[in-house]
Symmetry: C2
Subunit: 238 residues, 2 copies
């Protein structure tokens, strides 16, 4: 009975590239990057594996399509604001998109050639710099500087060891002190200075992300301003 309904639903909504990509993103969202395989995806769609190959040439094209879905979720640049506010908001939006799809950053990086969607996104980023009065040279360097941030991620080196039971975590930290004296100095930061036994290991990654982002944006603004004052007075001249 359930089977009949499923079959009817399938017939009503035929297999399309769209539907395949949506299913793939959903699968990766819940199962992680390594859970996506052509066979598994086909099964999820109630379809024979080979049916997918009518809509995507191969697995690489599937992954590209999945990345495009995520990039499309990034908000458009806000308008009527200075370049710094615009860039800041855009990048925080990109970060939110990639946090919603934790598999996306590693998939994005594994890709060789960027897709047209990704290229268009980068182009619009460049536009924000140029409209903000950057010279082409400085915009070029700025794009490289933003590098890892431009698509919303700076890789966090630690996985946030929040999985460990808290007592055990505290013990591990103190044991580490002998071997890694400098890391150990972060214990008060990790614990919270006076919150008693509130062992909240892990950093405020949102704060850290913005700290680094602002450091870079402020540095770029300094360079832009000195560029502008060196070539006359108009801050919007390229």
């Amino acid at each position: 009975m359930a089977t009949k309904i499923e079959e009817a639903a399938r017939a009503r909504e035929p297999l399309t590239r769209e539907r395949i990509l949506r299913a793939a993103v959903a699968l990766a969202d819940e199962g992680g990057a390594e859970s996506i395989s052509m066979r598994r995806l086909a099964q999820e769609l109630g379809v024979v594996p080979m049916a997918l190959y009518k809509h995507v040439a191969n697995k690489d094209e599937l992954l590209d399509g999945m990345v495009d879905v995520v990039v499309a979720e990034i908000d458009a640049p806000i308008e009527d604001a200075d370049w710094k506010a615009t860039m800041r908001e855009r990048i925080l939006s990109a970060r939110r998109a990639l946090l919603r799809h934790p598999w996306a950053s590693s998939v994005l990086e594994s890709r060789g050639e960027p897709t047209p969607t990704v290229i268009a996104y980068i182009d619009s980023m460049m536009g924000v710099f140029l409209e903000g009065g950057f010279s082409i040279d400085l915009m070029h360097h700025a794009m490289h500087v933003m590098g890892s941030r431009i698509l919303g991620f700076s890789q966090e080196l630690f996985d946030d060891a929040a999985s460990m039971p808290q007592e055990e975590a505290a013990e591990v930290w103190t044991q580490l002190a002998d071997v890694y004296p400098n890391i150990a100095k972060l214990i008060p930061v990790a614990i919270g200075t006076h919150d008693g036994p509130a062992v909240g290991v892990g950093c405020d990654t949102q704060f850290e992300f913005e700290f680094g982002l602002d450091l870079v944006l402020d540095g770029l603004e300094r360079l832009r301003a000195s560029e502008a004052s060196a070539s006359g007075e108009d801050p919007a001249a390229s």
Copy 2:
């Protein structure tokens, strides 16, 4: 005959974790990240696949070991220099190591928990900041800021399309101009302003890396200096 010699060599140099890791690194160096598999590696060593499992628990442990080999190639911090010069040199050394082993950065990122070798490396980085007079808080933020650079890589978004024939590349660039107006503004940068037909598409990634690195280091130095002047006069106080 050759077989006999090979067999003798194998007998003289028995299978060890060391030898497995060295072979795995060599295999990845020439074949890329995706060419490393337990079966392929075993074949390369003239050994049955299961023999590897005596020395590494599984493929993840193999990958961790390979990363450790690369990290071990990073030069120790230079001595008798200010923090900025020390940090700069260390990070450029890390970058060189990762450029020597192009597969390493993506493998490094795919790993979950960092290995003790990686942790020790990070600890020594923290030591450079602390000895340079950073407060623990600022050192903490600084480590996050360095993020993608700390291990020598900021992901380059484009693969350096140096593979394309140059005439074709130039044509592609001009076609792009309509769709991606801002990217197109980089054409003179990519071509070289007055070098005639010298179509050297691609950026000076070494220059760009140092540009970004210095932007960040200068920003951190400004913060450290204002921290120091706010808490007395001693620039080495934590």
